[in-house]
Symmetry: C2
Subunit: 417 residues, 2 copies
């Protein structure tokens, strides 16, 4: 077991109020996890001396590493820096490198450097400055009584830069941790309890230093094996063995053996085949295409999409047969097939996925059944269809529809449909 | 000042590991905030007795309300329920209503009800069951020593249902809080420090019971006024007065006086005019359309979009002049104009926004300048263009491009361009 403990403290009224979602903690945790450092706790506090002091007083004694984000910024909200200076027994002084940098950043963006901005270059004289090259607020490292305490700005890309260039290298050097190995199996088609029942005997045999967690999300259940031990190679062997047993047992529902999103899994499958894909997204409004284009290199297999949100445009833009639209509604197997076939040809693709449906409940269209989405996947030779029923609100339904659509296309591309 | 304090405790290794982003806390915080209840702290702990016990031991003495999510589920991860039962001095018993419900849910989804599922219907006999109609795990309310402590599943829509039907009505009844008033001004075009300098004198006059916070996000700076007091009407007047002063001072950069996302602001502007919009999204891959369709009722003004990700499709699908594509690159003012004009006609719209650019840095296309996006907004009479340069990674650049695009369209629709 790793004995090094880390705690994350995020500072910000906007987090506690619910204005901002905390994405920083997850990112930092993943990076520390890769180093084999456990995050034991995470605390979010107000932008006040009292809130920050309480957190530091409580968390410092029980952790080796404290990562703090937030509370730093150019306006009246700036309480953290003077407070930390006082807390660690120092004084604020202007750092020349930071000052030059802040002035440069202002110049690049044609912003006048005002008097109130001078304090952005101040740092406590009891810290190591962790240079922030993509923003104005420097990171600060306080190494006090053997503890490693860092304060960083809350802006995500600034925190990431300081972590990557200043924090992680120092953590790697200072703390040698046990080997930690993760393996993920992504499944689709059965729920948690069904899977658990089916691998019950395998799970009961898992040794104490390896943990199996079930992580459900729309349309998917991820199984995550996590092991810790002194010997990396041995650990990898052990986990590979358990993974292999599990995979064999539930092979028909396994989608991937790596923890990557569906758009990446589908992208790789297309790349392997040298194939291209496009989408006819009616109800999902461009969301599937957006997800596909979040993947670096997607332009090599993603040609584009049509979002014919208005019914008439399915005919006008895509060329869906007008009679089909009249006879069956826009939300029908027939129209899903037309959309997939016609869009595929229009966009010069090998594959096309179409989604047509009604994601909202309680909308204006009472005559249309809510939550129903028809999907079709087509290549030059054939087309497969499926009718889905989603049960939640329009936003969760959209997420689920997108996941199920990409999954359906993945199965089609892999001849599993 | 409200004297009622609330703390959120989220349970889950997957949160601490960074596998899952905590969106529950923000949602719960917003709901409590609407009731005028402060969230003072938020703690995230491991799925262990020790982790949960430490959090409860520390947080219960200093808060009136504790909202807990996570740690409840159908597999081996279920530690929380037995522990809470013990912690509050009770025993687990089967709740008949929950049992019937769980069996029904399994039947609807054609899942066999297994023996291991019986414990999902168990609840501590020292709690009030908060019925979960959209999932299997019931919420549990422990009212102990005047404290209000709730445990709910971590699945978002299940937590939301239990909060809405079980928790919030009880909180409303039990705790009468000060009036709390929020007002937001959304601005675009200047940074935090510039705005702060320009309203410095107004800000210095703000009374102690009203707070002004600056909330920057891509392309936007929100100014949020929050006030607390005994008298709702008086508070509203005070805040309206300050808001009005600020608005007058920085009028040229004010986008809205309500805290709603740009897709909603743009949607309302279009609805007011009875106008329709469509998008030609090359680099943003459908993201703008996705955002627009997140708004209930968007089908009344959003016709659709084309995502001509591959260059040739700009000509083949949209009809962009082939010569224009050859002479200028796909990322040019000329092509942006063609995309906007042609897509607008193709999709039978009043307005069209086109975005063509290179969001990634370090991609395959060395000859194309990274971060550059040309945007054009067109109606039947005219077209306006703008060249943007984004500085970060492809994901943040996409977010910023989408925000700036919707903003540009909003200005165009409001004759401010």
């Amino acid at each position: 077991m790793s004995t090094v403990k880390a705690t994350i403290i995020t500072i910000g009224d906007e987090l506690l109020i619910g204005q901002t979602i905390d994405t920083n903690s997850a990112w930092m945790a993943q990076r520390l996890n890769e180093l084999g450092i456990d995050i034991e706790r995470r605390v979010t506090v107000t932008d006040t001396k009292e809130g920050i002091k309480l957190a530091l007083d409580e968390e410092i004694p029980r952790a080796d590493i404290i990562l703090m984000t937030g509370g730093l910024g150019p306006t009246a909200d700036d309480i953290t820096k003077p407070f930390l200076s006082e807390y660690f027994g120092g004084e604020l002084v202007v750092d020349q490198q930071v000052l030059t940098h802040v002035k440069e950043l202002f110049a690049i963006r044609n912003r006048p450097f005002l008097e109130r901005n001078l304090k952005q270059a101040e740092v406590p004289n009891v810290c190591t400055v962790l240079f922030n090259k993509v923003g104005t607020a420097p990171g600060m490292l306080f190494e006090s009584n053997g503890k490693f305490i860092v304060s960083m700005p809350g802006v995500p890309f600034e925190m990431m830069d300081i972590m990557t260039t200043g924090v992680l290298p120092r953590l790697k050097e200072k703390y040698i941790s046990d080997a930690i190995v993760h393996q993920t199996i992504i499944t689709s088609g059965e729920g948690e309890s069904f899977i658990a029942e089916h691998i019950k005997d395998i799970e009961e045999q898992i040794p104490v230093h390896i943990k199996l967690a079930y992580l459900p999300s729309p349309g998917i259940v991820k199984l995550r094996l996590t092991g810790r031990g002194a010997n990396q190679e041995q650990l990898e062997k052990e986990i590979a063995g358990i993974q292999s047993q599990i995979k064999e047992r539930i092979d028909n529902i396994v989608v991937a053996e790596e923890d990557i999103p569906l758009q990446e899994i589908l992208g790789r499958a297309l790349k392997e085949k040298g194939a291209t894909v496009c989408f006819a997204e009616s109800c999902t409004g461009g969301y599937v295409s957006h997800l596909m284009t979040q993947v670096q290199g997607s332009s090599s297999y993603f040609n584009g999409a049509i979002v014919p949100y208005q019914s008439k445009l399915k005919h006008k833009v895509v060329g869906v047969d007008a009679t089909a639209l009249d006879e069956h509604s826009a939300i029908s197997e027939e129209v899903a097939i037309e959309l997939a076939n016609k869009t595929r040809v229009l966009m010069d693709c090998d594959y096309c996925l179409s989604l047509t449906g009604q994601l909202s409940y309680g909308g204006e269209d009472d005559h249309i059944e809510s939550g129903v989405v028809w999907m079709a996947v087509a290549d030059k030779d054939r087309v497969e269809t499926k009718r889905f029923k989603f049960h939640y609100d329009r936003w969760i339904n959209k997420e689920q529809a997108a996941q199920m659509g990409m999954l359906m296309m993945w199965k089609f591309v892999n001849n599993k449909l």
